[in-house]
Amino acid sequence: MTTTSSPVRETGLIAKTADYLDQRTSMSGLVKELGRKIFPDHWSFMLGEVALYSFVAVLLSGTFLTFFFDPTMTHTTYEGSYIPLKGVGMSAAMASTLDISFDVRGGLLMRQVHHWAALLFVASIGVHMLRVFFTGAFRKPRELNWVIGFVLFILAMAEGFTGYSLPDDLLSGNGLRIIDGMVKGIPLIGTWISFLLFGGEFPGLDIVGRLYSLHIMILPAILILFLALHLLLMIINKHTQWPGPGRTNENVVGNPVLPVFGGKAIGFFFMVFGFIFLIASLFQINPVWNYGPYDPSPVSAGTQPDWYIGFADGMLRLIPPGWETYWFGFTWSWAILVPIALIMLLLIPVAVWPFIENWITGDKREHHLVDRPRNAPTRTAIGAAGTMYYGVMWAAASSDLIATHFHVALEHVIHVLQFLLIVSPFVAFFVTKRICLGLQKKDRSIALHGIESGRVVRLPHGEFVEVHVPLADEERWSITSYNDYGPLVVRPDANGKISTVQRVRAAVSRWFFEDRIEPITKTELERAKHHD
């Protein structure tokens, strides 16, 4: 354990190993390319790291669990250590889950690590996505990586749901029942899809085994593949950086992978791991022994899905009664189709957002400097509206608990949330846009007039003035160097026509960039100096 640098001896083991490998793999090229690659540093860049590291925790703890878990629905009688369920009939999946919890030392810990890490995985992906969205880090050349990231987000939720259903306990069985009911509501193919999924009528004897192969093989394989692509593209495109003195769109300022960035990353990896273990050792999660084995008849009040499925479950609850029609001899379950449509209304724009924004701005340049959210007011406001929309759906998944905890009528909770689902995105949009413009105005006035010092000076002729401290060049640069777009002005094309597409684009562009605060210019600053 010394930190004095000792160069590797040319005859030493490390040098020999490195030489051996390089002669067979040409690995020195990789080290040359990546070893001193520069990474910019900012706290918001670690959110994606949390996702990556918690995924590793999920993989490792999940591998441990596979050695003990029996993914079959064969009926068996529980004979383990947990007395309240002794002699109760259940599936082998549930029994082996109980055995992992009560008869394998550290088994409960690994179950809880797996579950907490999974929750953290989806949460960190969500926050990471918000960071990328609000800073505009998805712009060219990173649009494809945004789409890949979106796929990872969907895969993470699918992994979560398939894993949640494996123990075959009362709660997860009810979750599957809800999926079954939703699938049956799909026109034309729903009934068949349900029967193919469950191998017959719900619940059948196949679903746990099928979800198991999805959960531990197919989905992880796709997830790891996309994750590798995601990281590869990040290396190819290099990381974005915040604008600031000395940082341009043509450089990257920061620390090299070896040693500083790598050291911090490895350290952070262990911190995330340790944090997950800390939670898992102190806080119970998914105590399936309290729920009992799956039985189609009982259900407990206050059932909650895992948080990341909450938005979908909540959306189901917000539909008014009787949304079902009988047309052309078939049943149309609007109570299922409308929630799916409203969820797609959120997910599809998220998936293709970089292309939408690019179509509006028409900007084909590469962007490596991120936006401060305030400097892209309309985008930030749209993001806030989308977040609100998701948040209302999510809150609806706990409508019953909100009612019991706050002593309000359940019906009122639902009606308020239905109202909020439609109205709150608009309110969020308007408020956020105003806040962004206000912050930009504040930046502008600080850049022009400096910071109020609070010192009031009386001049010889009796006038009182407040002294403003002018900004340093670095500070001024940080708040005035941003991308500014004007609204699109439609012009006739070669045939003298203005196409409908162009008209629409111009209208959207106006909506986007009509209200804007332009960065200050040197001339304006000069003028302001004369005024002060």
Binding site: F102, N174, R177, P245, S297, V299, A335, E474, G486
Partner: protein, 359 residues
């Protein structure tokens, strides 16, 4: 945006901005100059060797602590085993193993980060970016490669040959999809038929869930509620859960004047005792909560509410249809029995569901 020549060694990529469309972006004509990197500020550990030594000692301590925590974890595995006689031993086992591992990882993590932050050289370095696309020569060569391959193979020329290949390859995955048809075995009954039938039939006794004892009409007092399954369900060798998932029923008795029954359904109840499917018509959760005072059934999953006095019509929540009613009567011994199966499919709606049932 700005074109600064920081250090004079960076090749700016802004020249490309002339050739690439910038859309509606407004380029600053009278903007400020990028002031360049701010001066590097040394840390305490750079200027004070004793501070650096202190930090180093602390990190060494953290790494040793990690090792100790690892040893502790292994020891904890044996010190706090799981005792079959005492279920609470699981808690101690879980906690000490977890805390040991958490400490051994946290200390390495914090130590490594501190090493990087306080002891490694932290001068900010600058690296130039290049356009993501390949150099013009590379791109030209790539196009050339494809052209050569095309010429030498005749891929573009022999269109029928090429399109035949594409068509054949596109058809290849179809068997892979067809093979999944037997996820639900083709020899089994048609799904829609199965969804139309349950275990209930004429004369099948209503028995208590889960113990299976029959229910006398005289046992059902006003205001009471019974969770009911068909007689014989719990003795099933196969498909017990599937049958149960369709056949669960709620039995309630209301004051007869409270029941607003349709004319043709008056015979379905018995002395104010009514039986309704317990499977929610929304997505199939069990409608398990009964409010005695209001005679409302509540589904705990998505809060659909059904009014028992009016044939379980939906009065709140996302359900689309009333709960199906099971026609009941009593047999010679006074036990409650079903008059027939349900007269409509129970549970969530599905595409092929008809609306011309005898209800």
């Amino acid at each position: 945006m700005a074109e600064d020549e920081h250090g004079g060694e960076l090749r700016t990529a802004t020249s490309s901005e002339r050739t690439v469309s910038r859309g509606t972006a407004l380029l600053p004509t009278d903007g400020f100059q990028n002031p360049g990197l701010p001066e590097h500020r040394p840390r305490v550990t750079d200027t004070d060797p004793r501070a650096a030594k202190r930090v180093e000692r602390f990190i060494i301590f953290l790494f040793w602590l990690s090792f100790a925590a690892t040893v502790f974890t292994v020891a904890a595995y044996f010190i706090w085993p799981i005792d079959r006689e005492d279920i609470t031993s699981v808690r101690a086992n879980n906690m000490f193993l977890g805390l040991g591992i958490a400490l051994s990882m946290m200390t390495i993590g914090i130590g490594a980060v501190m090493w990087s932050k306080y002891l490694m050289k932290d001068h900010e370095m600058v690296e130039s970016r290049h356009k993501t696309e390949g150099s013009p020569a590379t791109r030209a060569r790539a196009v050339e490669v494809f052209q050569q391959a095309n010429e030498e193979s005749g891929f573009g020329r022999r269109t029928l040959l090429r399109n035949s290949l594409i068509g054949a390859v596109l058809a290849l995955p179809i068997p892979g999809i067809v093979l999944f048809r037997d996820l639900y075995n083709g020899n089994n009954p048609a799904p829609v038929d199965l969804l139309h039938e349950t275990m209930w039939d004429e004369g099948v006794r209503l028995v208590r869930d889960p113990i299976g004892t029959p229910i006398k009409a005289s046992d059902v007092t006003i205001g009471s509620v019974f969770h009911v399954i068909p007689d014989g369900l719990i003795d099933l060798e196969h498909h017990m859960l599937e049958e149960k998932a369709k056949a669960v029923v709620l039995l309630m008795r209301l004051p007869e004047e409270r029941l607003k029954e349709e004319e043709h359904r008056k015979s379905w109840s018995y002395n104010g005792i009514v039986a309704y499917s317990k499977v929610c018509t929304h997505v199939g959760c069990p409608v398990a909560l009964y409010e005695q005072q209001t005679h409302h059934l509540l589904c705990p999953c998505h809060q659909s509410q059904f009014d028992v006095t009016e044939h379980c019509k939906v009065i709140f929540g996302p359900a689309g249809r009333p709960l199906p009613q099971l026609p009941i009567t009593v047999d010679g011994e006074g036990y409650l029995v079903a008059q027939s199966d349900f007269l409509e499919p129970v549970g969530p709606s599905f595409w092929e569901r008809k609306h011309d049932y005898n209800v």
